[in-house]
């Protein structure tokens, strides 16, 4: 976890606002979203953008929430300050939940508001007159109005329009600029601005999705071979890698299925590449036999599971933390592997090189448990937090580098080199194909130290035991290579909120709200490394806890069961959400209050927004 922020801060942010843009898929929600995100990030504001969408290309209901602040932004927040409904459906769905002081911006000809809650400013726009024929620019008007109300200078918008539309030609940029100016001026003349202005800070921030962060981390780690089968919500990694493959000398392959993906990256990794793939739960299920082979032949690979709501095809565009036990149980038999659940976009980036170093050193698969929330979710990232030049540690590998054709080789029929040598650490130096004198077979069948199969003719219970123990022994020392989780917040707390992976930010924000708005002090123990698991460190932290509340984005309490299996700790109460949408801070706040009152030991929040 990079940059762990404390649970309490005295520096109250100047602004913290959220804009929601909704409509049917195909109505062009992405472009105004991008424009706003770029403008906020260029002013140095942190932001978090989450798109609630559906599995269709046209129609339905899509709702993008962009929240920005000069303080940390770790979730989509609890409410909206501005809503831009692009169709009647969006207006009807969400007007009732708009809070006092918020504004709703819409085309007065196309959309009529219904019962408007008290204190909500309705901002009807004469879009037809403002766009003067350029229908495509309707959303630009809405963006201009939002920016005016936030006190953001028009020049920022002009720059962003140039950035976004320049590939469509100067005429499009100019037309959008003129229309934007009219919208901006119309807002100044007709609507009340917010009582605050979005500040401009000194440092520009980058805007990245988690999928992009994974791709960027892979580039930093030296991935040379990336393969995938398109599957929401992981496809963004494939697209990022494909976009940059040529210029950076990386091979990207779209394969016939996920079985082929995993087997192909194992082939590339066996030959010596750092090789990676990303998928979602269904694709991961197809990969699992081969992941076992990666463990058996001790060929390291990295695979990212971007979880979506399951089982089966499930809800392809909705989030869940429901694959934990699938990853734990991936592949038959016992074999060492890593499972890590990064907590944010920045953390995704930095985890990839770290995981490759570990998998190279320990020669086993590394699995990343991400989810739609952080992988498709967008966040600002401080460029200084991304380490593009990480240490690259390939462990015990033997390459032919430096050997030319007339260079030496140690002969064929080499009986000296033992690919699977039964060393003290269990780690056996790995020669890649092409190295003279190190010929061996890498077999998915059980094998002897030299690679000879001991699964049929030469079965031998002692050797089998030796090889099982050799592979397992690799992990004896691995905990030292991984930071244990730490307790964040006050030691004197009414409860400890325990979670894993993507819920880190929203749990932290809920803890801050509980303290500042409810005078309830709880602390946080968030787990990133699932395997290996710092069971002792976690046990000793939780032994001091007044009440252990386990927060997770699934029905059955997968993490709670895992915690119990590794530590014997049952947990005292649970907050679980499994409706496809991520936690909002108040869901956890309300849950903690109910659980502390002792009315129940399981709190399941209701998602108020119908998205």
């Amino acid at each position: 976890m990079t940059k762990k922020q404390g649970a309490s801060t005295d520096n109250k942010p100047l602004v913290d606002f959220a804009v929601g843009i909704g409509g049917a898929a195909g109505q062009g929600i992405a472009t105004p979203g991008n424009i706003l995100a770029r403008i906020f990030a260029r002013r140095g504001l942190n932001l978090h953008a989450y798109n609630a969408y559906q599995s269709l290309i046209r129609g339905g209901h899509t709702f993008l929430t962009i929240r920005a602040s000069d303080g940390p932004v770790r979730s989509m927040g609890d409410s909206l300050d501005v809503m831009v409904p692009l169709n009647q459906d969006t207006m009807d769905r969400h007007l009732a939940v708009m809070p006092p002081g918020s504004s709703v911006i819409y085309d007065e000809r196309k959309i009529t508001p219904g019962d408007t809650p008290e204190g909500v400013q309705l901002c009807p726009l004469p879009i037809k007159e403002l766009v003067s024929g350029n229908k495509l620019a309707a959303n630009t008007v809405a963006v201009a109005v939002v920016l005016n109300m936030l006190g953001i200078e028009f020049d920022d918008l002009a720059d962003a329009l140039e950035l976004i539309f320049s590939r469509k030609g100067e005429a499009v940029v100019e037309s959008n600029r003129e229309i934007a100016q009219r919208g901006y001026d119309y807002a100044a003349d007709n609507f009340s601005a917010f009582p605050y202005k979005a500040p401009r800070l000194s440092k520009r921030l980058a805007v990245v999705t988690g999928n992009e962060a994974v791709g960027m981390g892979a580039l930093a780690a030296g991935v040379k071979f990336y393969a995938a089968y398109p599957m929401s919500p992981s496809t963004g990694v494939l697209m990022y890698m494909a976009k940059h493959a040529r210029e950076l000398g990386i091979m990207v392959r779209q394969v016939e299925d996920e079985i082929g993906v995993m087997n192909m990256i194992i082939g590339a990794a066996h030959a010596g590449c750092r090789a990676m793939c990303a998928t979602s739960g269904g694709g991961f299920a197809l990969m699992t036999e081969a992941i076992g082979m990666s463990g058996m032949i001790e060929t390291p690979i990295v695979c990212i599971d971007v979880q979506r709501a399951g089982p089966a095809t499930g809800v392809p565009t909705k989030t869940e933390q429901g694959d934990l036990w699938q990853l734990l149980g991936a592949g038959q038999g016992d074999y060492p592997k890593f499972i890590v659940a990064p907590v944010s976009q920045t953390d995704l980036f930095n985890t990839i090189p770290e995981l490759f170093n570990l998998t190279d050193r320990y020669q086993c698969p590394g699995l990343v448990l991400s989810d739609l929330l952080i992988s498709e979710g967008t966040s600002t990232v401080d460029p200084d937090d991304l380490n593009w030049q990480p240490v690259i540690d390939r462990g015990q590998m033997i390459f032919p580098n430096g050997n030319t054709n007339d260079n030496p080789y140690g002969g064929y029929n080499d009986n000296e080199y033992l690919r699977y040598a039964n060393t003290e650490t269990g780690i056996s130096p790995r020669a890649v194909p092409g190295v003279p004198g190190h010929i061996h077979v890498a077999a998915s069948d059980e094998h002897d130290e030299d690679g000879t199969l001991i699964s049929d003719e030469f079965t031998n219970p002692r050797k089998r035991r030796m090889m099982v123990e050799k592979r397992a022994r690799k992990m004896d020392t691995v905990l030292d290579a991984i930071d244990p989780p730490e307790l964040v917040g006050s030691n004197d707390a009414a409860a400890t909120l325990v979670g894993f992976g993507s819920t880190w930010g929203v749990v932290l924000e809920a803890i801050e709200k509980l303290a500042s708005e409810n005078n309830i002090i709880v602390n946080q123990l968030h787990v990133k490394w699932i395997v290996p698991f710092h069971a002792d460190a976690i046990s000793s932290i939780l032994a001091e806890s007044q009440k252990i509340i386990i927060v997770e984005n699934n029905y059955s309490g997968q993490f709670a069961r895992y915690l119990r299996s590794e530590t014997g700790i049952k947990g005292d109460a649970y907050i679980r959400k499994y409706d496809g949408e991520p936690f909002m801070p108040h869901h956890i706040v309300d849950g903690v209050k109910a659980l502390l009152e002792g009315e129940t030991d399981l709190y399941v929040p209701t998602h108020e927004m119908m998205v």
Binding site: R42, R204, L205, A206, V207, L219, A220, A221, G222, K224, H244, A245, R246, G249, I250, R253, E256, G260, M264, I266, G267, A268, A269, H270, G272, C273, A275, E289, P383, W388, Q389, R394, Q396, N403, D406, P408, Y409, G410, G411, Y417, L418, T423, E424, S428, P429, A431, V432, P433, G434, P436, G437, I439, H440, V441, A442, S444, D450, T452, L453, R465
Partner: protein, 314 residues
Amino acid sequence: MTTTTTAADIVEKSIISNSIPLSTVEVTRDTYKGKIDPDWCPGCGDFSVLTAMQKVLSELGRQPHEVITISGIGCSSNLPGFINTYGMHTLHGRSLAVATGVKMANHELTVLVTGGDGDGFGIGGNHFLHTMRRNVDLTYIVMDNQIYGLTTGQTSPTSALGMETKSTPEGNLENPINPIPLAMVGGATFVARAYSGQQTHLVDILKQAINHKGFSLVDVFSPCVTYNKDNTYQWFKSRVKKLEDSDHDRTDFHSALDKGYMWGDEIPIGVFWQREDLPTLNDLEPVLDEGGPLAYRTLGISKKQSDRLMAEMM
């Protein structure tokens, strides 16, 4: 379990063993003899295929470390253990996917893929199709015995209609796959059939297949003497006819397709189809244009490159 070998010892040793001059090594058929002897049933057709591969490699003068033999699972897939090249014994049906990864990561390796009809045309059928259309530069040698041998005699995708096996005791109801037309239509650029009972011919075909740039399929009739009592040496002997003895034109697609469909009293063996005008996948990949094998390149990207990537995000 205690041992005294450390990983550092092995790396040290390998540096020393790398210092014996390569030029002192002469490549013969015995060079390719594996560490262990085959565990196939006496009389199995696969022996002949193994010997033919060893002959071809020595005749071509390939160094063992320049070759990798990759298999799936099944009797014939045990072959990598019996030949002295780099080897991978992968999962059932997955050899071609793994081999594609190996070839792309190190396109300087000679990649041979071995397996059976169940492995390649049954469980591995999808990879078979897509590896062909990609024209991955490898040689796929299928030891086709029309039966599942290692699981003791069940029907296979190439088992004849009506064949009685342990899973079809009343006779096979399903039409078999004919790998020759399938491969031609699937995009393979070299499609041949051989018979393990005619080794000289088999050697000749394998040599052409390995020399071919692109995906080459050699479907070898390799009788299972234990579980297939229908398609025996005796059965094949009178039926197989060499295409080389006819006026077959291997560049005539439609004629080759017709020959590929021939089945009955006369079954052609030889090279049905070859085209040399299509680039291989590694020829097409600009990433492999220069810099040698992907697997041996320096990792990571430069500051200049990462600055450019970050600029896109700002």
